[in-house]
Symmetry: C2
Subunit: 206 residues, 2 copies
Amino acid sequence: MTTGTPASTVDEDVAVRSRDAGNTRQLLLRAARIRFARDGYSATTVRDIANDAGVNVALINRYFVSKEGLFEACIARVGEELGRPSVGVPTVPQILDSLTTQLVGLPSDQYPLQLMLLLRSSGDEGADRIRRNIMRSFAEGMAAAAGWHAGDPGADALLLRAQIALSAALGIVLLRTSTGLDPLSRATEDDLRGPLGDLLTALLGR
Amino acid sequence: MTTGTPASTVDEDVAVRSRDAGNTRQLLLRAARIRFARDGYSATTVRDIANDAGVNVALINRYFVSKEGLFEACIARVGEELGRPSVGVPTVPQILDSLTTQLVGLPSDQYPLQLMLLLRSSGDEGADRIRRNIMRSFAEGMAAAAGWHAGDPGADALLLRAQIALSAALGIVLLRTSTGLDPLSRATEDDLRGPLGDLLTALLGR
DNA sequence: TCCGGATGTAAACGGTTGCTGACTTAGGAA
DNA sequence: TTCCTAAGTCAGCAACCGTTTACATCCGGA
């Protein structure tokens, strides 16, 4: 059952040196991201990842210590790429824009890898802590658009609403990718923007 | 890593006959539901389930053919219990009520098992089809509250909104149970009703 | 009372898992 | 050219996976 659909063996980066530790690390990371995001942690085997990356299995343990370590590196990379802080407090429409694009996936990838990875858990405390921190800051960014600011006492209600909005986004990603539920799974970015806009303003205000 | 926290070995039903196929089937189903819901399909082992149920492992294959078969039986039971058709078309407030209670879990269970199971996939086509059908009819029930009725041409937008509402509910369940994200994970039914009500009316109208 | 099917048990099967250690090989520094 | 280290290979381990098989045991109907 394991192998399944290969995650489109990564073969970009022409003119690579034949022996380049940094490059093989990247190859492993890219392949692992896709596998973990698409199939989940425990359904993914290290041999699958190594095959997709075109790399020997043992190198996973060399460069990432363990399967857990590789997963944690994937999650951490999501934190870096998703956590690029936009200068200043974003507005609700800005949040809507970035969310909808993240939600259908960047055109370069065929999956919204970042958000899909956020849905996955390995059960390991290290990776889960990173994941939680990403979500926390993500939600705080959304709450800030509604007037919330850090350390604000008694404003849990606003933070809760932002976290609910985040839940909705992740739920949409999950149902779009892991079920064939129509019209949701076939909906385009434009189809989603309207309902999602209503959802956001209802939770966070105009 | 597998065994983990035991899923509170099921020991209800006093005065059971010592050898009762129907009863052991139920024991296996209850234990499996908790494991699958809490840990996911591939992270759950048949030995875990059998231990929790206090039953020999081989009986899983006897009564459910395979691990897949057991999972499919769990999903099907969700369909039965969740799909109890309320007479007539529900109103949005009624949907809100049933959704919030389902969302925090029935007081008898410590988890919202029904919705958590809906989040899980085994990759098997049989179980996934059942899952999809449950979600479809669930979303159609919600859309009906907003005036949608089956076969309505061009009303995909309304069905899409209902499916987004369902996504939101499932996303909330996922984040509440699989991450320690506060205040969301500690929110009570009352805390959730307000934001969730706004969300529903924004998507489906009053 | 006896028997036969239903129910439960124990052990093992082949395959897969993550991981390791001993090894070869490439490629730059001397 | 030589040599040493980083990078990659290979075979295999021990544990675990889902499943099967052969066997024990119970219990209701004859």
